[in-house]
């Protein structure tokens, strides 16, 4: 039998570990990645001519980042690596790629989707203004370009990344005006039993809040964002919010980093026709998979945060698991068991995080009519409400068809989850009943010039 053709999409933690396992088994996988360099978002590598050391870039995760990068560097001769290449569709056992305007259809026997995550966003009135960035974007600015997104930055949202990026900004010398967390402090205590699944990570989190405190950064819990103030020309001018006490406050700033933890990039799993199921813990539809990463489609495997947000450490384990499971080689049962139990621990920790930093679902239906809900298409919350009233639409794709929410260039990545919450609340139905925006090719915009002259 010919050597199985293995394609790994993504060169972050899970993709790298999957590739490593394949190479160790004597296989030569194709690794396709959108990035210019490996590392994914979390361990994104700075350009060649930048000089900051690992410790400065990745903090407590410096060792892991370095190990991952070194592993990938060591694999380069043994894999078919395709950086700056987009997988824009999947059909009939082929991935369809675009690198600039060069196109290719590459057949596979096994496809490992290690597609990673983007920020999960809850819109706030004014989030279309220049100077409002996703939390992950704020981190990318610092990590890969050594810049702050503004002269005076407010971090607003929730989740561990909020504290991580804010403290990274402080340590890099940026001015952090405030950290405004929508989750109440008490939620963390309730989550403690699950969070203790990963004591060292928990401890790192505590250290972040100390960094912020030492720097004198205002940190507030249980806030309710009201508005990102600003104007069309100059962008963000401040934030207005209700403090936990219920008092309305404003803080002047020229940049806001916003986000509520992460959401997996599941479009390719969708295009590969994997089955999805609603995950009540995160209130998201996620592709189904077994403990070893097998999707509902034979030959398609899902690993890392692209399948479910369990963090970078878990992604390394799940990437390796997904690769090992069906290689058809003798498997070290002990290792498989230990990898599974490792992922299980991260899953417990992730449940804790979801409790400690809950997704503020109720913020979506509370958006005023004039708040932009879909940034791409400029659709307001009021526009969506009017469509629901006039047409009775109560399903995500139906509401999109009529209102254009989620129909723009980001394909609903940043408004889709909030729109579903708004629809659910207005219609008085559970959010799972609203469904999910179907993945549509191309996963990212595809040049009409694709394939020209080939």
């Amino acid at each position: 039998m010919a050597e199985p053709r293995i394609i790994i999409v993504g060169a972050g933690p899970s993709g790298t570990r999957a590739a490593e396992a394949c190479v160790a088994a004597g296989l030569r996988p194709i690794v396709i990645d959108e990035g210019r360099r490996d590392g994914g978002q979390i361990y994104r590598r700075q350009p060649d001519n930048f000089t900051r050391p690992y410790r400065k870039l990745y903090g407590t995760e410096a060792g892991r980042a370095q190990a991952l990068h070194e592993t990938f560097d060591g694999l380069k001769g043994a894999i078919d690596y395709r950086p700056e290449t987009l997988v824009w569709n999947i059909a009939k056992g082929h991935v369809w790629t675009a690198s600039a305007t060069v196109q290719e259809a590459i057949p596979f026997d096994a496809l490992l989707l290690c597609t990673g995550a983007t920020d999960r966003l809850m819109p706030v009135k004014g989030w279309q203004f220049a100077g409002a960035y996703s939390l992950g974007g704020a981190q990318v600015a610092l990590k890969s370009q050594a810049v702050s997104i503004g002269h005076r930055v407010v971090f607003m949202g929730s989740g561990p990344l909020l504290y991580l990026v804010a403290s990274q900004y402080v340590e890099a010398g940026a001015e952090v005006a405030a950290v405004l967390d929508t989750s109440p402090f008490g939620a963390r205590l309730k989550a403690l039993p699950d969070l203790l699944a990963m004591p060292s990570v928990l401890w790192n989190g505590v250290a972040l809040t100390r960094t912020l405190k030492r720097a004198g950064v205002m940190v507030q819990h249980g806030v309710t964002p009201v508005e990102i103030m600003g104007d069309a020309e100059s962008g963000v001018g401040g934030v207005r919010f209700f403090a936990g006490s219920g008092r309305e406050e404003t803080i002047a700033c020229d940049a806001v980093a916003m986000g509520h933890h992460l959401r997996p990039e599941t479009q390719l799993a969708d295009l590969a026709r994997c089955a999805f199921a609603f995950d009540p813990g995160t209130r998201q539809w996620l592709p189904e998979r077994d403990d070893d990463g097998r999707s509902s489609v034979a030959g398609v495997y899902l690993a890392g945060d692209g399948a479910k947000i369990l963090g970078a450490r878990s992604a390394e384990a799940s990437g390796r698991l997904a690769a090992l499971g069906d290689l058809g080689l003798p498997v070290d049962k002990g290792e498989m068991t230990s990898l599974r139990s490792e992922v299980g621990q991260y899953a417990r920790f992730a449940r804790g995080l979801a409790k400690a930093f809950p997704w503020p679902a109720r913020q979506a239906p509370a958006l005023p009519d004039d708040a932009i809900l879909c940034r791409c298409e400029g659709v307001t919350a009021g526009d969506l409400r009017a469509v629901m009233r006039e047409t009775g639409a109560q399903e995500a794709n139906r509401a999109k068809a009529f209102s254009r929410v989620g129909m723009g260039r980001c394909q609903g990545r940043y408004c889709g989850l909030a729109a579903a919450e708004l629809i659910a609340a207005e219609a008085g139905v559970p959010v799972e009943q609203v469904g999910r925006l179907r993945g549509q090719a191309p996963v990212k915009p595809l040049p009409i010039a694709i394939g020209d002259g080939q």
């Binding site: 824009w88 569709n89 059909a91 082929h94 369809w96 196109q103 259809a105 006039e390 047409t391 399903e395 139906r398 068809a401 009529f402 129909m407 723009g408 260039r409 394909q411 549509q440 090719a441 191309p442 915009p445 595809l446 040049p447 009409i448 010039a449 694709i450 394939g451 020209d452």
Partner: protein, 377 residues
Amino acid sequence: MSAASDVIIVGGGLMGSSAALFLRGHSISVTLLETDLIGRQASGTNFGNVRRQGRGIHQLPLANRAIAIWRKSRELLGADVEYLQSGHIRVCYRERPELVGSMEEYATQARAEGLDLELLSGNALRDKFPFFGPDVLAGSYSPTDGHANPRLAAPAFALAARKLGAVIHENTKIVDAQKIGEDFIVTAADGRTFRAPTLLVTAGAWGNALSSQFGEPVPIVPRGPNMSVTEPVPYAILPAVGVMTPIEEETVYFRQVARGNIVLGGSTRGPSFPDQYRAYVEPQNTMSQLQQIRRLAPSLGKLNIIRVWSGIEGYLPDSQPVMGPSATTSGLYYAFGFSGSGFQIGPGVGETMAEIIAKGGTDILMEPYRIGRFAAG
């Protein structure tokens, strides 16, 4: 206990929805049954051409009837379905000069049916519409054709029908229809039954399942349109544009919506699966479409597509729909199988079917659409 009305319509696309609206105009009570949601397949996923030119000459009276409805759609529906009478251009390529003669002949025949077309040479076309590429040899310009938004059209007709008293049941999959005595009894998958002396089947690619129950199978084939859309760009292309060619791959078309996105369609059709209610865009079809679009309008090569889609359409071998009364069963009518070109005539079909049901006949020529043309022997 069955819900009763004068007419049951099975299939909530543009044909069924507009028929429901016009039946209410005749004060006939109507129940519209839709498997899924109104206008979600062929009616909602097509290109949105509101084009008369290029249709068979015999279809033009129906198309003219439809255009009159499109023009008054805002008042009729109380909704904006983004209808723009911004023109339509059909072009042919240098490789097929013989098509210029066909265009001229068509224009002469169309004029007799009230459709005025202006024939332009490639250079004259490029002067007026500079986006055309050098391969374009000649074109036929129809200033009174245009385009509309398919996502909005059928639902708007259904909503207007409902406001006039039509009863509409979505998520109602019909599994059986029979005539018992004077009435049709139509049964849904969940056991609900509906009763009426008249049954109109406007079920698109699913139409054959019902016509077969009345001994009239048709050789319908489900396919899916191949659609793409670009990012929004400054609004500069008014007419819808399409290619006249015998080669399926070359058959592409595009239009720009007022918001700026350019909708691309055609080249090849994909498979669709009525049983699963899904249709897929084949990546190679997207590729061939983009290649042909670059040939038709090279400057579009600077843009990107941000989304592709398809839907379930029903095609008949002669590309003509089944429309009119059943040949086996009195009180039974059909309007399905529009073979990928039903959008423009849709409202005209609805009005004509309502007229036939209400008045027993119509001046529109129905002969080409008889279901009997597929009868064995």
